[in-house]
Amino acid sequence: MATAYQWGGAGNGGFPIAGQDRISLVRNPQSVPRAVRQSLATAHRGRKPAMVEFCTVKKIDNSRLVRHVEPVKLRNLYRTVALGGIIAAFCMLYIYQHFHCIDLSFQLEDLKGKQEQAQALNSELKLEIATLRDPHRIDVIARHQLGLTQPTANQVHEYANLDGAEVAAVQYVRPYRAP
């Protein structure tokens, strides 16, 4: 806040006048003794003052600054800021996604590796099953280890004729049964 000094005129004894926009060095001019004030006035009137003091007053608007902005400009400003913010957010999101994507790609490759390992294990197990089901292997085990022999003709008995659901069930189990 600017401080201005102004010596008042004769009316107030040369003292700064405390006004609305002024600040007096003397808080209360009435508090100065009258004799002093008269002597000073007399001295000024009687002879040429030794030094003229000017007291200039600078008007300073010290009230709150309220700028008048047009609403359209303000709205455009808000829009621009919002747009910029969105673009910035998108940029940030893009950058985040990009690096997150790379990070996920590493994870994905890792998972793919595990998946391939699982698939390879699955394939190896299928291969092992197929190998174990080799008719020649089963035949040799049956004959050599278990001592089984081919059934003779009269040891094979046919089932009685089935009908309805039983036939369907059997055919479902053995789809390539001869007609």
Partner: protein, 691 residues
């Protein structure tokens, strides 16, 4: 003054900034607009790797979806030489781990290529060891290794692949473009540490799975019995084919010698040959089926018609032809049963060359069958205009004509199924994942072609049954099922003399079972069996019997004739002998209880051939038949139909007017629902027309 200085500095700063920005953006614009493609390519080379790997081949299954060939992921080691810093160390370590000469690895690394295979398709132990080395510039890449888990089983049908998984034989070759799949590439991005990320699998496309008509059990039975016969006869080669006569589907195709497709590269080419479709041989007496089929179809002969077989010798176009036995008067049925060459020649002469040739062509001889396997031969059949005066006689008994085993069994199947010639095929279905694909190319199953009338086929089936009941194929008689067939013993050409060899023959037997509703057709061909006798009746017929007696119960085919007491005793005796047999003997039944030699067969001929005619014996041996088949001879179609319906039988009527033949025969005990084929003939009503 001071303010002017400030302004000047600001201007200088702004100018520098503007220049800097202009330079930056100018450079960016230059790089983006003028050098874009160059730097994009350079970045791609640095960051992106497109690696082509072997596509994963589809699996091959049998008709019950049992895998016969499948691919398993394995790892292959490769190097990027520019990334290998310490080469001597890498060479030394890799040499120790992979078991390769160091010099070989060094040469690969020094080759100057950007990508070199170090070793492909590593075993799991080597893969782990290579991974643990963690060498810079040495990588592992997934590939696929083809395995055939059943080893030799069906190897000639399956084929094999090379190290690049390219099909080189059989189904692997025929459908390589489908099984192999399209090119498989992996595109990966690499970071500064050469870690891969963002791998692309968009171009992966696994091959098509192929489901075959083969049945691994039947295939094994065929291969085992063929191997047993080869071992017994010391023959160098042989073939067995089992076919479904009602569709042309090949259920088994066994060849000897066989090979392991897992190590096919080391196998001689001769062993990898699929003889069933590529070997041409003179069929011999089995070709008499074609001769008789043509004559029957043209109504030129009847089954009961008698021919004079000239006591075993006939002269045609100045050539004297001797029969293998001296036959006198024989009916047509006996001509086929006893395989009389003279009788067949006389029938062919009555038929004439043009019609005979047409039937031969109609049965598919002289042209490939179109089976979906590579390397099929068309056989040898001279054009009619090139036939000599003697040719009709030769061809009628199976000489001067070359056939493949597949052609022969296709023709026999046509007789078995009632006269329809089906295209033989081994592919049943193509699958991608769980979805069936439409068949394409050679796997498309064409409509069957009728080559003979159903009546002709029925007559031939009956005559072929006679071959097994009282003809040359008695050894092939099945225990519990009716069957028909024809033996064949074709002399091979001796390369040294250019004449027919007396010792080298091809013994064959073609037959089907059961008679009424054939389920399987089986062809057995043994090339050059050692020892004597080496005819088809002795060598090939027992193989047919063994295979049929295992395949028919496996297919749940009900017995249509009771077990014969002799055979039951033989089976009982066999069981005891088998219990004491050596474990090394893998043959299922010791058929030593049955006569192999013709002399022994002749001794037992009387008892065996009389069995179906004695209902008392049949009753004693009956195992569950609940309907006695009546005698339909002389009855009309209505009477036959009514009789069958009353007894719960399923009549199959062939011909018209009066019943003359039936199968099963009168007195046979069968189950309800059994098909009874009754053949009618109108010649009995008009006796004057018969010859």
């Amino acid at each position: 003054m001071e303010q002017e200085k400030v302004h000047a500095r600001l201007l200088v700063l702004a100018g520098v900034a503007l220049f800097w920005m202009t330079a930056i953006f100018g450079r960016v614009a230059y790089l983006q607009l003028f050098c874009h493609s160059e730097y994009l390519a350079r970045a791609g080379r640095q960051q992106r790797r497109t690696i082509e790997i072997t596509p994963r081949r589809g699996a091959i299954y049998d008709r019950n979806m049992h895998p016969l060939a499948m691919s398993v992921p394995v790892q292959s080691a490769f190097a990027v030489p520019s990334e290998v810093k310490d080469r001597p160390l890498a060479v030394r370590l890799l040499s120790g781990v992979l078991g390769m000469p160091a010099e070989e690895i060094r040469e690969k690394l020094d080759s100057g290529s950007t990508f070199v295979w170090i070793k492909r398709k590593l075993p799991p132990a080597m893969t782990e060891a290579t991974t643990s080395l963690n060498l810079k510039g040495i990588y592992l890449l997934g590939e696929n290794q083809r395995y055939y888990p059943k080893r030799e089983l069906g190897s000639h049908v399956l084929g094999f692949v090379d190290v690049d998984e390219k099909g080189l034989g059989g189904i692997e070759h025929e459908y390589d473009y489908l099984i192999r799949g399209t090119g498989e590439k992996i595109v990966v991005m690499a970071d500064a540490k050469q870690r891969w990320f963002d791998g692309s699998e968009a171009q992966r496309d696994r091959g098509v799975d192929v489901v075959l008509t083969l049945d691994e059990k039947i295939q094994y039975i065929a291969e085992r019995e063929l191997a047993a016969a080869i071992e017994k006869t010391h023959a160098p080669a042989g073939t067995v084919i089992v076919q479904d006569p009602n569709s042309g589907a090949i259920l088994a195709m066994a060849n000897w010698p066989k090979f392991n497709p897992n190590a096919a590269v080391d196998v001689p080419t001769e062993m990898r040959k699929n003889r069933a479709i590529s070997d041409i041989y003179e069929p011999g007496s089995t070709f008499k089926l074609v001769t008789l089929a043509a004559a029957f179809d043209q109504n030129l002969i009847r089954a009961e018609e008698v021919f004079n077989c000239e006591n075993g010798a006939v002269t045609v176009a100045g050539h004297l032809i001797h029969d293998h036995k001296k036959y006198g008067m024989l009916t047509v049925a006996d001509i086929l049963a006893n395989s009389s060459d003279v009788g067949a020649i006389k029938i062919a002469l009555r038929l004439g060359s043009p019609k005979f040739y047409d039937y031969i062509r109609a049965f598919g001889f002289g042209s490939p069958t179109g089976i979906d396997l590579p390397g099929e031969s068309r056989g040898l059949l001279r054009r009619l205009e090139h036939w000599g005066s003697y040719s009709i006689a030769s061809v009628s008994m199976g000489q001067e004509v070359g056939v493949t085993p597949l052609q022969m069994i296709t023709a026999v199947s046509a007789v078995a199924n009632g006269g329809l010639l089906y295209k033989p095929h081994v592919v049943q279905e193509m699958r991608r994942g769980n979805h069936a694909l439409p068949l394409e190319g050679p796997s498309v199953i064409a409509e069957p072609k009728r080559v003979i009338r159903p009546e002709t086929a029925a007559t031939l089936r009956r005559l072929m049954e006679g071959v097994i009941l009282h003809g040359t194929g008695k050894i092939a008689r099945l225990d519990g099922w009716t069957a028909g067939g024809k033996t064949g013993t074709a002399q091979k050409i001796d390369p040294a003399t250019g004449r027919y060899s007396r010792t080298n023959v091809i013994a064959s037997f073609s037959g089907f079972a059961p008679i009424n509703n054939p389920v399987v057709t089986i062809l057995v061909s043994i090339d050059s069996p050692a020892g004597y006798p080496h005819d088809g009746a002795t060598v090939a017929a027992p193989v047919f019997k063994r295979i049929a007696e295992q395949v028919l119960p496996y297919l749940d085919v009900s017995r249509d004739v009771p077990l014969s007491p002799q055979l039951m005793q033989a089976a009982y005796r066999t069981k005891n002998e088998t219990d004491d047999a050596s474990l090394d003997d893998l043959s299922p039944i010791d058929f030593s209880a049955q006569p192999d030699a013709p002399e022994e067969a002749a001794k037992s001929e009387q008892t065996i051939t009389n069995l179906p005619k004695s209902p008392e014996v049949l009753m004693a041996a009956d195992e569950g038949g609940d309907v006695v088949v009546p005698d339909f001879t002389g009855k009309t179609m209505r009477e036959v139909t009514e009789g069958c319906m009353r007894l719960g039988l399923d009549p199959v009527l062939v011909g018209s007017r009066v019943a003359v033949q039936q199968t099963p025969g009168a007195g046979a005990k069968v189950r309800r629902g059994t098909k009874v084929t009754v053949e009618f003939d109108d010649t009995l009503a008009r006796p004057g027309k018969s010859r």
